[in-house]
């Protein structure tokens, strides 16, 4: 079947098997390998992308379900050479070590800040609680997101990428 997905503002049209998962579409068809795969069961969240601005686990989403929608991956966070404050925050506050869960964490953070520009520590912990990081113990991720809240101007990814 044919799907047409707008990824980071770029239309991607491909013939695919109906069963193809969105994470594989993004990685193998669109060639955007910043979105990672970690568990198959929606537990780890390393595959999180934004679909129409909402964080979604792309390992349990069919690419076909996303046809006609806007997908944002980590590659779409930096706009015109300017990092998203969330990306800057993760660097400043040591919010990543191996970097494998990082793209999903940052996209969830972006969605959170779009909804709630000044989240409390607990609200941040709630927001990222569907995702696993094995390296950081989460404190520095929480600090990174607070850094973005305090230092960043909210950026509308959809507006910037269209």
């Amino acid at each position: 079947m044919q799907v047409n997905i707008v990824i980071n503002g770029q239309e991607v049209t491909e013939e695919i098997e109906p069963r193809m998962l969105l994470v594989h579409f993004i990685r193998d068809q669109a060639g955007l390998t910043g979105t990672h795969w970690g568990c198959d069961t929606s537990n780890c969240g390393t595959c999180v992308v934004l679909i129409d601005g909402e964080p979604v686990k792309s390992c349990t989403t069919l690419a076909a379900m996303t046809s006609g929608h806007q997908v944002t991956t980590v590659e779409g966070m930096e706009v015109d050479g300017v990092l998203d404050p969330v990306q800057e925050g993760f660097m400043q506050c040591h919010g990543l070590q191996c970097g494998f869960c990082t793209p999903g964490m940052m996209l969830t953070a972006r969605a959170l800040l779009d909804q709630n520009p000044d989240p409390s520590e607990h609200e941040i912990r709630e927001a990222i609680s569907g995702q696993i990081c094995r390296c950081t113990g989460y404190s520095s991720i929480v600090r990174s997101i607070r850094w973005a809240a305090e230092n960043g101007t909210p950026v509308s990814l959809e507006g910037a990428s269209s």
Binding site: T33, H36, M77, Q97, C98, G99, C101, C135
Partner: protein
Amino acid sequence: MTAVEETPAEEGERPIGYGRLLRKEDPRLIRGMGNFVDDIQLPGMLHLAILRSPVAHARIANIDTSAAQAHPKVVAVITGADLAEQGLAWMPTLSNDVQSVLATDKVRFQHQEVAFVVAEDRYSARDALELIDVEYDMLPVISDVRSALDADAPVIRDDLEGKADNHIFDWETGDEASTNEVFERADVVVSEEIIYPRVHPAPMETCACVAQVERVSGQLTLWSTTQAPHAHRTVYALVAGLPEHKIRIIAPDIGGGFGGKVPIYPGYVCAIVASLVIGKPVKWTEDRTENLVSTGFARDYIMKGEIAATSDGKILAVRTNVLADHGAFNGVASPIKYPAGFFGVFTGSYDLEAAHCKMTAVYTNKAPGGVAYACSFRITEAVYLIERIVDCLAFELDMDPAELRLKNFIKPEQFPYETKTGWVYDSGDYEPAMRKAMDMAGYAQLREEQAEKRERGELMGIGISFFTEAVGAGPRKDMDILGLGMADGCELRVHPTGKAIVRLSVKTQGQGHETTFAQIVAEELGIPPEDIDVIHGDTDNTPFGLGTYGSRSTPVSGAAAALVARKVRDKAQIIASGMLEASVADLEWVKGSFHVAGDPSKSVTIQDIAMRAHGAGDLPDGIEGGLEAQICYNPTNLTYPFGAYICVVDIDPATAEVKVRRFIAVDDCGTQINPMIIEGQVHGGLADGVGMALMEMIAFDEDGNCLSASLMDYLIPTSLECPDWETGHTVTPSPHHPIGAKGIGESATVGSPPAVVNAVVDALKPFGIRHADMPLTPSRVWETMQGNHTAPI
């Protein structure tokens, strides 16, 4: 980003230069531009999937691959019999055992590798697995390790000639007679069976590789999730008979390792064989279930611990008897003379009169492995044993566990301290670390709060753990893996314009080597860290060394980096003497330049010297051009980081749910290189500890079925189970490391589980509870509260 900005250190950190430098790794990773193994796409690349056994112990009666072969997108289907024809059905483990690549005679654990399919895409490869028909003749299963040595137990390893039981080894350390003598005269003896269940490192990135064999040259390039690329290269040369100079291992970005990416797994060998046979690049990426059920597990020790003391709390001796479950193949990755890893440091941080350990290791019908999950070669088990049994003693003596520890610490003047099991602790100053943790926690106030809460029937617990680690394996006369000495090389090349490249034998999996090793060289050579690039994870482009695990990168390779920089500096000094027309002895080094003693105006920078070293002018007699050096560092001893941890928990009396309210960690890893990265290493390990203590366990049923085969069943802490960690430090440099650093990668994983368990048990003191085994899930805590605590295995 301002990766080069020098951030002032916080008071007391005493780091080497540049301190809290932002990481060089981050700009690519936060843009999604890392390069992990599964990201690699090569022209014509095929995909490999592995068929695994659904049962734990069975003879393979027949395998029919015809339907899979007929699948239009399948290129090859390979079974154990096919590999046996090439002599590749078995491979050595890192413990001198053998493990099957694909089963030939029988399967010995559930999910063991039976066959593989190579297909044009990853979905078709998986589809074809369903088309392979295997007939199994079931055999009795050893799932309970306690029955492995029963006289009527089925023999799992009948592939080993003459093997008539499931025994692997007996191991002993310390002195039995003197320990028994101390136990006989002690006022108090406390015994407890303490279990460290099987857990799994479960890095976010599973194992994967891409194998590419060039048909004409025979060159194998393997992109692989490995923590030890050079050691792997040698093992592949031995397994596959490929000449070692024709093997190149590339470990690109690695999504966490924690020890799970030290062993060689059958999947890697299968991909190499497939590429060799088919002549195209082949990718294998395991799924999460495969990762949890077949790759390196950790722990699985049943420890009978005993502690002897005087009635006023002077600890005299410790002894233990351990039953170790190694699974179906002995795949432990430990220095070969240390079959139980460094478990011998179970005497902990205390000055004892005697100690003794006896251990028996056995085969069971479970996945092989044994050393993974940031354990520092079994020190997790050792620290858990001593820190749990010390708390049991405090319970019996009705003594405060902090006071008991303070009373028994090895004193600073006793270092270097040789333990009763023969380990020479290099340096330590334990009491200040313990006092600092108690101050940070507000220990006295916490005890008051606990007393008040107990009056009201609320369950609050305070748990303490004080650990000493032994890391940085190791002196090559004592430590090797498959005959490869545990030394590490480092190469440093300063270019004409004064920029430098440092090449490491170790490999980061998130620890930040690209940053910290640049900092070490920057400190020694005065070249700013932004001018130093770190090359690692490529056997063709780095010197030989044994890799990153057991917290050995800083103690071994970090030492190599400092010393290679000093070697370059020594040469630079000779060149500078020519440039300044002064004798070498008259030159003084001030970070980044040499000047003539007494005349600072006559000076040359390291950059000036680098240009001269490569330039047209004459160099002093006997000095070759260029400014580079290489060394191979052989550590003289291990390093011994330590720390004091305090955990505060609240237990809901109605649901038995444990909530970690606070966690205070004071670590001493000697000289600090980058305090920001150190804090990150500690944070991650603390989360591991909460996970193991409260939720993580790889469980099996009586038929050997793995019950923890997904992240729905193998629970890992999320942001909601972890508190905001409170960290602190003391600094006691290692006397034998060139910059005094000790390593920090695994300290918190080693030190934190007993703190959490001790806190939970402390909370349950009103129920008369002295011990409860991990994982302390609500159901297990509830049963314990009802007096029905059962062993997890």
